[in-house]
């Protein structure tokens, strides 16, 4: 097994000195999973709160401000409420698939989190096909949405699910191709190595024009991947009520809800890793303090997350055929041209290196 677990060597050594190797590995994996689950939950709750606050500030409101100081505990309270709620369902729902769907969505979101390089030290699973893994995992989530819509025996949910299928199949292409554009510079799929390459300048600077195009395309199609406005046709409130999760309640609904926010975080994290040098500080100003990497990583990610929120609270929603037109007639051809352009630039050594 090609596992390179690089979180806190001390715990690693201590565990392996205590127990036989197999048990130690298992314990270590469980520990890491627990830590990631906690991170996952906290990130989700924090992002929900952030979204509500940011939305309020865009909309001349105050946002949640009742629970805890400045409303910081609002999402905690919401989560508690959702946990305590009854799990309802429709009469003729396919019970097995209906209950399975939320887990598909949330587990894939959690799996993607494993390969993200939060800092040089803090990365659970530095696989050599990192980017490929991320793209592959993030497209599994749609199966959960399809199952949810199909199994809940509701036509609105079904329409939402089918829209989601169409949307993900289309925009998966753009996400992959735009990332591929930058891979031309790095020549590796492993995330830690991609970050190392960026010590000579972030890839968006190294690849200049085509990289910027790739970034724009990535952000557009990434927003579409997460089913967020202006691409939120899947749950399009004014058309489908709540779309694929119409019939879900309580914690099962919360899974979908959390997964949406985690996915947004993941999309922003990938962009940070690929285009903005992950945990590397700008111009290496904090090179001597490697633990600040986490700060830089989260900072950059949050800026991108904010950008996605800004999109959401400004733009109207697209129609389903316009959504597909945008992908197949605009993003895809541009993307292919962009790859050729990038290949030429890399071939002629026109990248900007510091």
């Amino acid at each position: 097994m090609n596992l390179s677990l690089s979180i806190t060597k001390n715990i690693h050594d201590w565990l392996f000195s205590m127990m036989p190797e197999t048990v130690a590995s298992l314990t270590e994996m469980t520990l890491i999973a627990t830590v990631y689950l906690a991170v996952f939950a906290v990130t989700g709750l924090f992002l929900v709160l952030l979204e509500r606050k940011v939305a309020a500030w865009f909309q001349l409101r105050l946002g949640p401000n009742r629970v805890g100081p400045w409303g910081l505990l609002q999402t905690m309270a919401d989560a508690l409420k959702l946990v305590s709620k009854e799990l309802t369902g429709t009469v003729n729902a396919d019970k097995f698939l209906y209950n399975l769907a939320p887990y598909f969505v949330i587990i894939t979101a959690l799996m993607a989190l494993a390969v993200l390089p939060f800092s040089g030290e803090f990365q659970a699973f530095d696989i050599n096909i990192g980017i490929f893994f991320l793209i592959a995992i993030s497209s599994i989530g749609v199966i959960g949405i399809l199952l949810a819509g199909w199994s809940s025996n509701n036509k609105f949910a079904l329409i939402g699910a089918m829209r989601s299928g169409v949307q993900t199949i289309s925009y998966e292409l753009s996400v992959g191709l735009s990332l591929l554009t930058v891979i031309l510079i790095t020549g590796t799929l492993q995330l830690s190595e991609i970050v190392e390459v960026q010590r000579n300048g972030w890839l968006i600077v190294q690849g200049h024009i085509p990289a910027m195009f790739a970034f724009m395309i990535y952000m557009i199609s990434g927003t579409a991947e997460t089913n967020r406005a202006p691409f939120d046709l899947v749950e399009a409130e004014s058309e489908l009520g709540a779309g694929f999760h119409t019939e879900y309640s309580g914690m099962k609904f919360a899974y979908f809800f959390l997964a949406e926010f985690i996915n947004m975080f993941i999309i922003a994290s990938i962009a940070t890793t690929i285009f903005f040098g992950a945990w590397l500080s700008p111009f290496g100003i904090t090179e001597s303090l490697p633990w600040l990497g986490v700060f830089w990583f989260l900072g950059k990610t949050l800026v991108l997350v904010f950008l996605m929120m800004w999109f959401r609270w400004t733009f109207p929603r697209l129609r389903i055929d316009q959504l597909l037109t945008l992908e197949w007639k605009y993003l895809l051809p541009l993307n292919l041209m962009n790859i050729v352009l990038m290949a030429i630039i890399v071939w002629l050594n026109l990248t900007i290196q510091f």
Binding site: W57, L62, W310, W313, T314, F315, Y330
Partner: protein, 158 residues
Amino acid sequence: MSYFSDIYNGIKTLLTGMSVTGKYFLHSQKGAITQQYPDNRDTLKMFERFRGEVVMPHDENNEHRCTGCQKCELACPNGTIEIIWDRQVDPETGKKKKMIEKHIYHLGMCTMCGLCVEACPTDAIKWAQNYENSVYDRTTLTRVLNKPGSKLMAGVED
């Protein structure tokens, strides 16, 4: 070529749209239009013409101005007002005259149209600027406007 100019113009309009929301985001603190309702009860003042509920003002001698003419009852479109009246002997003049026993006002049926207040010839009833009218029991919405033991103010009927 229109293909690329479409993309360019499209992105431009999107960015100008974002500049509007972005501007409000930056000024969010002073621009907030939220009324923090239960907290601002002290400062929340209704306008003087606001129609909250119909009341019958009494002076310090527990006297009101209602003669029991029933014009408000007739003017009301919903049967919100019921007046129970009686011919009683006026202790001062010794004559029998019409006096209200109960001026009943069903707030639950009132549509706040203001016709009764307009119809009243003696200004006996008027609007209160009370905006918290919800109760837990529907029966409490039926109110008797004249206070117990109150009587007609002198000189109103002239």
